[in-house]
Amino acid sequence: MEKILEVKQVSKRFGKVTVFHQVSLDLYQGEILAIVGENGAGKSTMMNILSGVYAAGEYEGEFYVRGKKCEFRSEHDAKEHGIEMVHQEISLHRDLSVAENLFLGVLPHQGPFIRWKEIYREAQKYLNMVNLDVDPYEDVRNLSNSQQQLLSIAKALVCKPEIILLDEPTSALTESDARNLNQIIKKLVSQGISCIYISHRLDEVLEIADRIAVLRDGEMISIRSRAESTVDQIIGDMIGRPLYEMYNKQSAKLGEVVFEVEGLTVPHPYILDKNIVENVGFNVRRGEILGLSGLVGAGRSESMCAVYGYMKKTSGKVKLEGQEIRIQKPRDAISQGIGMVSEDRKGSGIIAPMTLRENMTIASLKDISKAGFLQKKREVNLAQTFYDMLHVRAGGIEDYILNLSGGNQQKVVLSKWMMKDLKVLILDEPTRGVDVGAKIEIYNIVYRLAQKGVAIIFISSELNELLGVCDRMIVFGHGQIWGNIERDSFSQETVMKAATCVEKYGI
């Protein structure tokens, strides 16, 4: 096989801090090389160097594409050398059509006139390459997350790259969408494209990658072929110590049923006269961790948002400790002792211009004030307590939350609810975009809350996580409940069959 990319002892410093130390790496034609590592291990730095975000001269060392030394000045240069980057955060223009997005920046034109006909005809070709079945005229706004992710890849293909850099392409996708995406990547690679693939999902990496490279603290720890790799080994390399049990499940003593939902129906947020959730009911016991599984669009998040009062519901009863309660807005839920961590950390989890302290106490203003006046001392003490308890890694509680990594931000978001005496805590994708180390810490926080008697509702698109963490699982399929599975009977197969509405279980 031909060596297409050769990275030789590249280092990158920010000020005095070396984030990337003498990393070398080869990429062969038609292979998928996965790079894994905790957040801050240097994966993104690597991508940024290769894709021209950091111009030549901003780093030390050199790299070659097909034996030719590369000194990129911009991302544009990288594109011209056949390197395309697909960013983790989908960066499409939501109000432009699918085809316009595809060709943005390289619109075929004749003089000053854009050749629209050609664009829409060509678009179909690229959509086919990624098995994306949407109308090129459709606004991107109306596409689902996974469709948008596929479109981002199609967009990268437009420039006919030799090397594609994928930064966590599946982090926002469900299990089956992710599988579909990975199939497409495999297909592209079999056609001769080479691919560097960053992911947090090791199951995925072990399935798709030809070789797996582990970065830790800016150094290349190991590169192994897939056949030689095991999950334990990879995680061990990532965190620098052996890891026997990632989830390390700790069960709490289950108490009586504390929270019940009956006959919940939620209208679809975008489609008129359609329900996204229909007549759903379930309950949670004190100290229980209830997993909500299902494909994106199955209505897990929507049901919980409706229960929490963040979305409107058509009908449905919510009972807390046997008493029916009325929740019309999040405020009502909180006053009853129900909290929720949303799936969109940036959009509805943190307040970017605020400090850690202010973010932590934002739901507890009543507890830290007297007659409407804030009591600074009490606030500082409270925030500091949880800052220490959760081992938040930052410059202190007066640091701004934007300076933190995803995992640490999430801990701050969790602490917002830990300082309240909750009966029920809803967690929607609490470990999305979080590195392995922080994930483990978050699981432990969840176990601790459960042991304190809090009923936890845990939504996740990572099936392994739910299998590892939960006591029981409810499976959503097309807006209804298809499975209710106790931990003893957990298996990937049962869950997938229920989630895809093939076979009901336990109902």
Binding site: I350, P353, E358, L365, K366
Partner: protein
């Protein structure tokens, strides 16, 4: 020594308020050198008095902008409320207290409408308050047919001119309000909520903050303060003038932005607003004293906005890089 100086300057640049203060002092010294009238008692009081009328509104605007809103209607509300008070005294011979209250109520009513448009009808704040700007100004013209209302009772006009311990009444009013504003913003749960809904309204909602109620409050506060400024302006002039407050919204917004309040919401302080407002008055007084033509003054104001906001953006990008 050299190094120390540099560090001092650097830390100065880091705190936005100190930066403005620095420019303020520099500007005052420059003007004083050219024209020593600047730092005389009467001119200082003049500058402070002019600052106060703007500042009272700017305080409210600070709350609105931090909460990610915008209020363009303050200039028109200023005029309308002044006139409502004036009319109440002139046509209906109502007691001053009642007239003032009516003026404030009129301001509050428009604040309520603004909030209603923004919160319930989901009209973007710029459009909603632009509508109010025209409606209020229209009512002014309907009410006065273009001519001023005067004379007003002596006791009322006197308030606009009187001093306490050598300081104009209005300056004291503005100072007390600024202090109250600072305490509200920094030390009350309400203030924290204002920052929260400006920083991220969705997160605020998730955390149980009644975003609509807080939004209502800030618009109500802003327009009521605009009304107060209008009534005090009427007292100062001894008449209800239909043309006052034309373009005040821009002066106010400029001052607040120079003071470091973010148009994206979630950031800003009352101290910054006070300094920003003061800087604007010193600038305009200074330019008069130095002899800059009125035409050029507008140009300079525009330049100041670009410099102030440009500098702010530069600081931010530096901070990100660090």
């Amino acid at each position: 020594m050299e190094r120390k100086k540099k560090n001092f300057f650097k830390s100065m640049l880091k705190t936005k308020e100190l930066g403005i203060l620095f420019i303020l002092i520099l500007l005052s010294v420059l003007v004083e050198i050219v024209n020593p009238i600047f730092l005389t008692y009467s001119n200082i009081m003049d500058v402070l008095r002019n600052t106060s009328y703007t500042l009272i509104i700017a305080l409210g605007m600070t709350f609105v902008l931090i909460a990610r809103g915008l209020d363009l209607s303050v200039g028109s509300i200023l005029a309308l409320s002044g006139l409502v008070s004036a009319a109440a005294m002139f046509y209906f011979h109502l007691p001053i207290f009642v007239a003032v209250l009516l003026g404030l109520l009129c301001g509050a009513l428009f604040g309520f409408l603004n909030a209603l448009f923004v919160v319930k009808l989901k009209i973007p704040p710029m459009i909603a308050t632009l509508g109010s700007l025209y409606m209020a100004r229209g009512l002014v013209l309907v009410l006065t047919k273009g001519s001023p209302i005067y004379p007003l009772p002596d006791a009322f006009s006197q308030f606009g001119k009187s001093y306490v311990a050598g300081i104009p009444y209005i300056v004291l009013v503005a100072a007390v309000l600024a202090l109250a504003g600072h305490i509200t913003l920094k030390h009350t749960t309400f203030g924290r909520k204002v920052y929260a809904i400006g920083g991220n309204p969705e997160t605020a909602k998730f955390a149980g903050i009644d975003v609509n109620r807080v939004t209502f409050s800030v618009y109500l506060l802003c327009s009521t303060l605009a009304a107060l400024s209008g009534i005090l302006t009427a007292a100062r002039m001894g008449s209800g003038q239909p043309s006052v407050g034309d373009g005040t919204e821009m002066t106010v917004i400029t001052a607040v932005i120079i003071g470091g309040v973010s148009l994206n919401g979630g950031a800003g302080t009352i101290l910054g607003t006070v300094l920003g407002t003061l800087l604007m008055s010193v600038l305009s007084s200074g330019m008069n004293l130095v002899g800059v033509s009125a035409y050029w003054q507008k140009f300079v104001m525009g330049l100041i906005i670009i410099v102030a906001v440009g500098f702010d953006q530069y600081q931010r990008s530096q901070r990100k890089a660090a």
